[in-house]
Symmetry: C2
Subunit: 332 residues, 2 copies
């Protein structure tokens, strides 16, 4: 008999979730069914989009049910297999995160590529955050090597790969971050840093100083005044890939960009995307980013939290500016 | 010696221009140069985008100079030609509007297509407004016959052709307008009308009632609360062609759409465009819309103002909701 320990939410949070919204529960897993795998998780991912799933509203993805196991990306080892494609010891990526042990359908898991990289990179730089950066720059914004690129939240899990992929393509890159330390790190990557704790007007000036030629591609993770500044900084025919608006996830109402009419005057294209809908391109991404990561040519930061119990803390750290950096991971 | 009478602006207006910003002047035209045409104007166009040119700010087009002849689309007859491609009596379209007589470069004028339609339609339904509607729907929004379409300011010069082109393609169409009379006219065209003098919330409800299936393509002419309502009404993967934001042209500051994050959650694409940059496709537009207009299958409204002196009044009528409808024209 296998016991699975898992997190639930017991109510719908308003604004920034309080830690006591989360509850650690356990259940006995039933007998393993045909076509299922018993997976023991090694690494769990926590990501900003999960905040949206805590609201009871269907957006592009179903909301989390109350008092049921939360979901998220995870890496695990197959302990028992009732599918001929997998055997015990195989490492897989799947969505039964926020827990230690899980029964999952073999059809729903991904076998990991064969690269000489640390396992947890498949949740970060070679996982959803990395694939998100690649998709936004290439599929959505049509990045070219002549473009000047602005990435907001550029020290985050997604942003930090976006700036590096753009930089390696030969683009000039401006990145915003929330502390001097993060800005220094961006600078070491060849990125012109801008501290994003400023008014829209001050941000606009700082971006102008960092890139007097203007911005062609804007990879947007933040929203709020940052979006006003981004719109103001764009060149004609600029492309904005809207990946996230983390500044809005915890506030019920917010002002929109007062300069939205610039979409017209500068003939811009602004497009939202959800990486899961572009997963068919994962192989293309791995072919470009995998060798760079294996060769140590991509820097990535991780903030590792230890033990299943730390999962809510890891998640909430996503909404604190300045303390933690890079991909938030839970190691089991 | 030919005298040209022309309008200037004598100062930069703030908000809605006062009539006394405009000044009627006259000058003697110099001798006609090689490659030039002397054109006598028959019809002048006034258009919302001209308001932007009155600000001293370069956007996608140079601002109007103070105390110099204003510009705009016009139809005229060649009186004298110093270019072998044109002869006296030819009808041409050109940009030396806001005046009665002009010398223009033969390279800058367009010969009109040979269709059995009233001359002034080349400033309206077969001119820039019609081409704008066609470009926004097709080139920018990628309209398909299964789409449900929302057009704001649907009784205007651009909007009224947008709704009809979409309707003739088989689309279900919702159009907003500013009076019961205009809404009745939209209804007679097979369009579900919504009065746009409502809050964003009420507009959203009214659009939902008119199109419970949601909106796939939104042709945006208005901005302000209308844009909030449009964003709220869109389906996933909706496309927004931003053609104008007339509600903002006369206000220095305005709130942006509070629900801008829907661009992300619904994976929308929002793109601004300027029809002049798509003029290479004019022939494609004429092939589709020309025969429809010649056969009387497209209804269009005109508000005709008589005499050069009425040009400022015609222009200012664009910003009054409810009194005039359709294309504003000045007949000389």
């Amino acid at each position: 008999m296998t016991v699975s320990r898992y997190f639930t939410i017991t109510s719908r949070p308003e604004g920034l979730p309080s830690p006591d919204v989360f509850s650690l529960e356990e259940m006995e897993l039933p007998a393993l069914g045909d076509g299922e795998l018993h997976v023991r998780n090694l690494w769990l991912s926590v990501d900003p989009y999960m905040r949206n799933r805590m609201d009871g509203v269907k957006t592009y993805i179903e909301p989390f049910d109350l008092n049921a196991p939360l979901e998220g990306a995870a890496l695990g080892e197959v302990v028992e297999s009732r599918d001929e494609r997998f055997k015990p010891g195989d490492k897989v990526r799947h969505m039964a995160g926020w827990r230690d042990e899980a029964h999952v359908s073999a059809d729903s898991v991904e076998r990991l590529p064969d690269l000489d990289v640390p396992l947890q990179t498949y949740l970060g730089v070679l996982g959803m955050p990395g694939m998100t950066a690649w998709t936004g720059l290439n599929t959505i914004a049509g990045l070219g090597s002549d473009d000047t690129v602005l990435v907001s939240a550029a020290s985050g899990a997604v942003g930090s790969l976006a700036v590096q992929l753009a930089h390696q393509k030969g683009c000039r890159v401006v990145g915003t971050a929330g502390s001097d330390e993060k800005c220094d790190w961006l600078k070491s990557l060849g990125v012109s840093p801008v501290n994003h704790h400023q008014s829209a007007e001050a941000l606009t000036k700082a971006i102008k100083a960092a890139a007097p030629q203007g911005i062609d591609v804007y990879f947007e993770n933040v929203g709020g005044p940052m979006l006003d500044a981004g719109l103001a900084s764009m060149n004609d025919y600029g492309r904005i890939a809207v990946c996230g608006m983390i500044s809005r996830y915890n506030s019920a109402s917010a002002e929109g960009p007062a300069n939205i009419a610039m979409v017209l005057t500068k003939r811009m294209r602004m497009q939202g995307f959800i990486v899961l809908e572009h997963w068919a391109d994962y192989q293309k991404f791995i072919e470009e980013a995998g060798p760079l990561v294996a060769a140590g040519k991509v820097e990535y930061q991780e903030s590792v939290f230890d033990g299943l119990e730390a999962t809510p803390e890891a998640f909430l750290s996503l909404f604190e500016s300045g303390t933690y950096a890079g991909k938030r991971l839970v190691r089991l």
